[in-house]
Symmetry: C2
């Protein structure tokens, strides 16, 4: 908060939001090491002063916030898909359908907003690692709750939730690289089939 | 091949191998944008002249070659795991066990050598995209062949092979980020269970 900001360009919450979105987009498309604060400031149409005003911790803090933003976006999608049907198989394939639709709508550019940054900073940025761990834990908890609501036992629900998230991650990557919805749709059908073997 | 190389530092196949391995390691740990040719040359203990001698196409060509190297490494692991048992469930869990062991042995550093670079270069580097597409196609073909040999129909084998690779990718990422073998072991058990529902 020590950065001087001229009153004429006083940062607003709109500015903060733009900075987080620009960071998220840049991290997704060119990775953590390839993204600099100046580029974030340009893309967000915000002054460097604003960027440091909101994120005095610099690039690590920005990346962690972008990851929390991506965490919430994916959580919203998961809740929408999983809550869309009483039938567990339909609910799971709704998630892969939503993911496929969003990916196609972004012209295959906006995949998981976390993967690249997480991989590049393994063991090197505790603030980022914590945000990544929280995101995965959040997603797993949403799936676990839905599986338990469908009558699957607690231990199985916990383990399966991890595999559901892993499979969605991997299938989204495959769909993005192949520019095709098919890997997501196939994974949705397979997950639905796997889960059906656990129904009481 | 136009780069002049002094006879005293004539590049050898050992040099080429070192360059590819260094590129692979750097891409894995800091991504494509964050990796420069000079750093590759330093890490590989090779002159810049050697690097351009072997890879006149520069960073894109180097990255594509590193991806082919990672392609073959993962193919070797898949063939070893899938060929380790007549029983399909055991063969699949052998793959996740091997992956977990290698990941732990690298202190959770060496995950999929392709993901980061592939994501960062989506739509921007045809040479890299082609190497990535070939790697995924190669892995899927290895799994598909094993599923057909186990008596699963051609159409199901093809679709399931994609989901097996996606799930291994996602579980490896989760294991790496959590520094735990468990996501891989759980996914192995779940994949084995899914595949068992297709047995004739």
């Amino acid at each position: 908060m020590k950065t001087a900001v001229k009153s004429a360009e006083k940062p607003t919450t709109g500015t903060r939001e733009r900075i987080v979105r620009a960071t998220s987009r840049l991290l997704q498309r060119q990775g953590y090491e390839g993204t600099g604060i100046k580029q974030i400031s340009r893309e967000a149409e915000a002054t460097l002063g604003s960027v440091y005003h909101f994120f005095p911790g610099g690039k690590q803090e920005l990346a962690a916030e972008a990851i929390r933003h991506g965490d919430e976006e994916f959580a919203v999608l998961l809740r929408a898909g999983l809550g869309s049907s009483e039938d567990l198989a339909e609910a799971v394939t709704a998630c892969t359908t939503l993911l496929a639709r969003e990916l196609r709508a972004s012209d295959w550019q906006d995949g998981c907003p976390i993967t690249s940054t997480a991989l590049e900073t393994v063991g090197r940025a505790p603030v980022i690692e914590q945000a990544v761990a929280e995101a995965f834990a959040n997603w797993r908890a949403i799936v676990e709750e839905r599986l338990r609501a469908a009558g699957i036992g607690p231990e199985d629900s916990r383990e399966l939730a991890g595999t559901v998230i892993s499979t969605l991650e991997g299938a989204e990557l495959a769909a993005q690289l192949a520019r095709s919805e098919e890997p997501l749709h196939a994974s949705g059908r397979h997950l639905a089939r796997l889960l059906s073997t656990y129904r009481p």
